[in-house]
């Protein structure tokens, strides 16, 4: 790793670290976190400052984290100057300026291909259920906060905020002089209206995200109060930010009433930098510069067109021919990336993405039956069922899997908490997890469980979607070679696969998650007994839980989700994550890479390089 960053990056990180330390040398260690939750943003600087002050972070850590996240970054020559790997660049200026060109070229039109989809089904935040949809709305609509490349929250329509000591009452000051695309002024009423709409399951599919929010009150035209049922650490990054296209993305009441929800879903009215001017269902969306956007510096482009392109080969041809200049939407097919990297007309920007992918093992079926995870790992490893689970987990060489199944694009995973979360991610887990690759130990475990050299091991079914076939084949092959056990691929369309997953009707199943910006997206959504994915449709009489249930993980998660002290929360998150890894809640495989491909005439500034999003408000294009 040390050879992958240069002296310049080293100096940069060092000075940042020292400044951070010097800056707050005299600050009291406690009470700092509370104040960090106030204000208009939680920058990486504050996080560093906090850690340095608390003495939990050494210079090496700063450098390693900088370099670790930058490691998979592939930068084409022409872009190197413009798009530095995100982690290595300081993001400590309060209002980062576009760094792409000294004098940004104004205007211009950009055509984007939206990969792997035939249609932008909806742009109504209340109905959005795909990343490729909120990638577009993030340019059209606004929320109270917006995440930055470090996955921490910055003020968007809120300028700053305060939280009471009990963590239950948040007061947000709203930006003044903001206008909707239809000319309506933005006020506290719009926030209240949006809340009431999103809270109603009849009108919004995200009502669940607002479960913990009991009320949103208007204090005056530009101040609102959010009342929580219990403290929630993820309020800014999950409830409010996922709002770049989700529950609390501000919608316009008059437009909704005039258009009706169906038309609003095609041409929504918001307060974002661009406004939707045309939407041909299935053929494309056109957005144009909104002249009255609150930041006069943005946007720079005049017009952007998004064309859905379902097939990989035409997508590649289109960007090579220059018909499109940027690829967003679903991740482009892995086999295309190497071809893009070698094309001098293209820039391939790779950063670690916010998600995890795993192999789920049904604990209610032999030969890996485990009906009670509530014991120490040392006890669990006495049980044959757990031995088989662990053997499978340890028999998978993540690096080789990533190389073969993903053409090298991804990072080994040992838990649901992903490295894009930076602060919360525990880099040590790759070294200490019980799941780490060890063929000998895996064979030993399998033999102890009664299947020496895989003898007598039943042929199991591995459920995958058609898109996951390649990964499934690599897994099956690897387990055959390493453990001499047979997996049979069972390929099912996603709607069928997800039903089997809900009902716990599988032996082994490939699934994962994306867009996980907060630890709660990983732990609360996936790893606790009551997680919405944890066997919601299982036969409850026969199965006490879904794929995993462990009281320590449940307790730690209950604590971390209400913990507003960042350090304490981090510790709880990492402990819970470690427990899910050691007890093989699932065989964790990889954290996907977030890949953005664009032509060299496009300048995509590093400050916009937010994992999972394609924010084009600072993007420029040279004719």
């Amino acid at each position: 790793m040390a050879d992958q960053f240069n002296l310049e990056q080293f100096e940069e990180a060092r000075s940042e670290f020292e400044e951070a330390y010097n800056f707050d040398r005299d600050d009291p260690l406690f009470g700092l976190e509370q104040s960090e939750l106030r204000g208009s943003k939680m920058s990486r600087r504050t996080v560093l400052r906090l850690l340095a002050a608390a003495g939990t972070l050494s210079l090496t850590d700063v450098l390693l984290s900088a370099c670790g996240a930058a490691a998979p970054a592939v930068q084409e020559e022409p872009a190197a100057a413009e798009v530095a790997p995100v982690a290595a660049a300081p993001t400590n200026t309060p209002e980062p300026e576009p760094t792409a060109t000294p004098e940004p070229v104004g205007g211009g039109e950009l055509t984007c291909g939206w990969a792997g989809t035939g249609e932008i089904v909806t742009l109504d935040p209340a109905q959005i259920n795909q990343v490729l949809q909120f990638q577009i709305t993030s340019n059209v609509l606004s929320g109270l906060t917006h995440i930055n490349p470090d996955l921490t929250a910055e003020g968007d329509l809120a300028t700053d905020w305060e939280v009471t000591d009990d963590g239950l009452e948040w007061t947000f000051n709203l930006r003044q002089g903001v206008t909707f695309h239809n000319g309506d002024p933005f006020t506290a009423d719009d926030v209240v209206f949006t809340f009431n709409r999103s809270k109603d399951p009849e009108q919004s599919i995200h009502s669940g995200v607002l479960e913990n929010v009991t009320d949103v009150q208007k204090v005056d035209d530009f101040t609102i109060k959010i009342i929580l049922a219990q403290p929630q650490a993820s309020l800014l990054t999950k409830t409010l930010e996922r709002s770049s296209g989700r529950a609390m993305t501000i919608v316009n009441r008059r437009a909704l009433e005039e258009m009706g929800p169906e038309q609003y879903g095609l041409t929504p009215i918001g307060t974002g930098p661009f406004r939707v001017t045309e939407h041909q269902l299935g053929q494309g969306v056109t957005i144009e510069k909104f002249e009255d956007y609150y930041d006069p510096e943005r946007p720079i482009l005049d017009k952007i067109t998004f064309i859905p392109i379902p097939e990989p080969e035409p997508l590649a041809a289109a960007i090579e021919a220059g018909d499109i200049q940027l690829i967003g939407g679903n991740p482009p097919a892995a086999e295309l990336i190497d071809r893009f990297v070698t094309n001098p007309d293209l820039v391939v920007s790779e950063i670690i993405g916010p998600g995890f992918q795993a192999l789920f093992i049904n604990p209610w079926r032999e030969p890996f039956m485990v009906t009670d995870f509530n014991k120490p790992v040392s006890d669990l490893t006495q049980e044959n069922g757990f031995k088989v689970r662990l053997a499978i987990a340890k028999a998978i060489d993540r690096d080789e899997f990533i190389e073969k199944a993903l053409f090298g694009r991804g990072q080994p995973a040992f838990g649901t908490v992903n490295p894009a979360m930076r602060f919360f991610f525990d880099t040590a887990i790759n070294e200490v997890s019980e799941q780490r690759f060890d063929v000998e130990a895996a064979r030993q475990l399998l033999a102890e469980a009664g299947f020496p050299d895989g003898e007598g091991f039943p042929t199991l079914k591995l459920l995958v979607t058609p898109a996951g076939r390649r990964e499934g084949e690599v897994l099956a092959n690897m387990l055959k070679i390493n453990l001499n056990i047979d997996l049979e691929l069972d390929v099912k369309d996603f709607p069928v696969l997800i039903e089997d997953f809900d009902a716990m009707n599988f032996d082994l199943l490939r699934l994962g998650s994306g867009g996980d910006y907060d630890p709660d997206d990983a732990l609360v959504d996936w790893m606790i007994t009551t997680s919405k994915f944890n066997g919601p449709a299982r036969p409850e009489a026969d199965m006490a839980f879904g794929f995993f249930s462990e009281s320590e993980v449940d307790d730690l998660t209950d604590l971390e989700r209400v913990e507003t002290n960042l350090d304490k929360r981090k510790e709880l998150v990492q402990q819970a994550n470690q427990a899910t890894s050691d007890k093989v809640a699932a065989v964790f495989l990889f954290h996907p890479t977030d890949i953005l491909v664009y032509r060299t005439e496009v300048n995509y500034p590093e400050v916009s390089r937010i994992p999972g999003l394609v924010d084009l408000d600072r993007t420029t294009i040279t004719a």
Binding site: E119, G282, P314, A318, D323, V496
Partner: protein, 315 residues
């Protein structure tokens, strides 16, 4: 004749009804729940609300009756996905794209096919015939997605003459419309043209053996007239049958070509609907497709009488 057509229309409606009904129930027997697939990470309350809103919580036969009642009011329902766009709108937006693509493809395939078919037949076993036969064989055998990709690589990436993907409506100008359609129409049309060319050739060969051709030649008619008027018109019947089927197939779905060239036509509406288990969309699209099929066939049958006045449908 009128009675014949009227009877055929009644049959046609019955066929369409049967297809629509079959599809309605078969769809619901296919495993996979559309709401669950769509709301991978959403709470049950929202899922229940959508089910109620779209009437999916009712028994099948009640859903069927509602759907049928709405059809007669010209309402095909609403998509289960996203902002629940009306199926009417989805189909109405897709039809011009499909018709554009199908008509250009049809024009290309049928003009190419008739010329090569006739030439092949007249110059039978010549080098030209063999070349055309070989070309047709390739045309029939080559998968259209592969052919489409080759076209893109040659004309878009290498030569940069035509756009690789997308569609422009005719309202954006004739050339903008046409240049987006040339490659997909070639990809969709050439396989059909190969088939039609082969059929034209064999039909022509058969006719050219006939006594009345000998008579025509014997009475000293110019070869051009023998081929053009006497032989060609009589060879047309099988050709028109195949062209009718080709046209119906082109309209109802050049799914693969639409996917390759990122054109959202009827075919893609249908396939995407099936993959998403978006019942109302699939039902609506199937209904439209079966109408197109049945009525194209009817039109072809009527066309026979024009081509060959000996054919009469009076009982």
């Amino acid at each position: 004749m009128t009675r014949y057509i009227a009877r055929r229309i009644v049959y046609a409606i019955l066929v369409i009804w049967a297809v629509a009904t079959l599809v309605f129930f078969m769809l619901r027997l296919v495993p996979g729940d559309p709401i669950r697939a769509m709301l991978a990470d959403v709470d049950p309350a929202a899922a229940a609300a959508i089910r109620t809103k779209l009437g999916l919580d009712r028994p099948f036969h009640i859903q069927y009756l509602f759907w049928f009642r709405n059809i007669f009011q010209g309402d095909l329902g609403n998509s289960i996905y996203g902002s629940h766009q009306p199926v009417n709108r989805i189909i109405v937006e897709a039809i011009p794209r499909t018709l554009s693509l199908a008509s250009v493809a049809f024009l290309i395939s049928f003009s190419l096919a008739l010329v090569t078919g006739v030439v092949s037949a007249v110059r039978k076993y010549s080098a030209l015939d063999h070349t055309l036969t070989f070309a047709a064989l390739i045309g029939i055998s080559m998968p259209d997605f592969w052919f489409g990709i080759l076209l893109i690589i040659l004309f878009s990436v290498t030569l940069g003459w035509l756009p690789a993907i997308g569609y422009e409506p005719l309202s954006e100008g004739f050339w903008a419309w046409l240049r987006h359609l040339i490659l997909p129409a070639l990809a969709a049309g050439l396989p059909f043209s190969a088939v039609i060319a082969r059929i034209t050739r064999s039909a022509m060969l058969e006719v050219l053996q006939a006594d009345y051709i000998k008579v025509a030649r014997a009475k000293g008619l110019a070869e051009r007239l023998v081929i053009g008027r006497h032989a060609f018109q009589n060879a047309l019947i099988p050709v028109v049958t195949v062209m009718g089927i080709a046209l119906a197939l082109l309209i109802s779905g050049t799914v693969v070509v639409e996917n390759v060239f990122a054109i959202k036509g009827l075919g893609r509406v249908l396939i995407q609907g099936i993959l998403n288990r978006d019942y109302p969309v699939v039902q609506g699209a199937i209904l439209v497709v079966s109408v197109i099929f049945v009525f194209t066939n009817l039109a072809v049958d009527v066309l026979y009488t024009v081509i060959d006045p000996r054919i009469r449908y009076e009982s």
